[in-house]
Amino acid sequence: MPPSIEDFFPPVVLFANTPFALNRVELVRILVVIVLVLILWLGTRRMKLVPGRAQVLFEYVIGFVRNSIIVETLGEKDGRRFMPIIMTIFFLTLGMNLTGVVPGLQIAGTSIIGIPLIEAAIAYVLFIYAGIRKHGGLKFFQAALFPPGVPWPLYILLTPVEFVSTFIVRPISLTLRLLMNLVAGHMLLALCWAATQFFLFTLLADGNFLGLLGIGTFAFGIVFFLLEVFVALLQAYVIAILTAIYIQLAVTEEH
């Protein structure tokens, strides 16, 4: 069964023909949310001043997002305001990404456009809201579209570029970067496993020694598996830190 775009549109299993139609991907997402909530609940349930091993690991991960992504970008004060949303973006993306490599699930919750689009929209609304809240609407758009320190004729060129890059490209690139990384990852992995299946259990079983190629495709599968784990972490980091950076750019005094 070769991988195809159909993988991302599995048949509906529940609530068909309603807005709440559930397919395999949505079930995987629900599972991710349940596991994530469980981990967060258990991880924060009995936190001690002097942490045990599990708490050290939990605090390390949360502390990484808190300090390296949020506080270092936004500072302590703004960081605290936007911390829940940015943390949600990071951990939800991470959880949804990782299901792409979990055996049995093997489809990333973020490889369907819904979640990348929602997160990009939230980041988009968030940085515009933060900028308007900080500077007022007029000043914010002025600073964003007419960067100071430039001779005015250049604005003819610069303002459309700034508009496109800030207000159009940012949300699109946030969405597509996450979506396409996970889609491509799924394709690669599924191709490797499907090829291995075909070579080892169809060709080799028929006595065709070309089937030994399956060993190679299996090795590639392992390599891509590790790569996808890395990509899952990296893309969660990227979308969280880009959201933080967009907010930070919107709230700084001068661009």
Binding site: I5, V37, L40
Partner: protein
Amino acid sequence: MHNAFLAVAAANDNPLLPTVPDLIWGGLAFLIVLVVFIRLVIPRLNALLDARSDAIEGGLKRAEEAQAGAREALEQYNAQLAEARAEAARIREQAREDAKSIRAELVEAASAEAARITANALVTIDAERKSALVSLRSEVGSLAIDLASGVIGETLTDDEKASAIVDRFIADLEAVDRAQEAAKVKA
């Protein structure tokens, strides 16, 4: 609503177009996790961090207090030590004074004793000398008269004459003696 849903569902095979259930379930997932972070994780995390920084600050404060206490005790100890040193010096000084006065008393007593002994000795010597002089006077007188009698060939039996001569002689002797003593005292 139903028609809109069907329209989106018709574009099912385009991965860039979201379906309504996709957006609904994705949005719900985001909301649930966001609520967990707002209501559960962030407050607990902040409480923990605050408690921890409190504990660290409290520890620092306690250490500071302990240090201050130690410093106070050291100062007290130093003060006591200085006091004890002064006391010791005072006692030593007192002892030195006492020793000095005791020594002076002893010296005084000894010199008084010595003076007394000397005076006694002088008195004794004087008495001895006087008695010696008395006996000498009688013996020397008779001896001298015997000798003189022998020399001049006459008997100086006349007692009056004899005693006059002897007295003169003795007086001379005494004068010489006194002159000698005076010279000795001057020297």
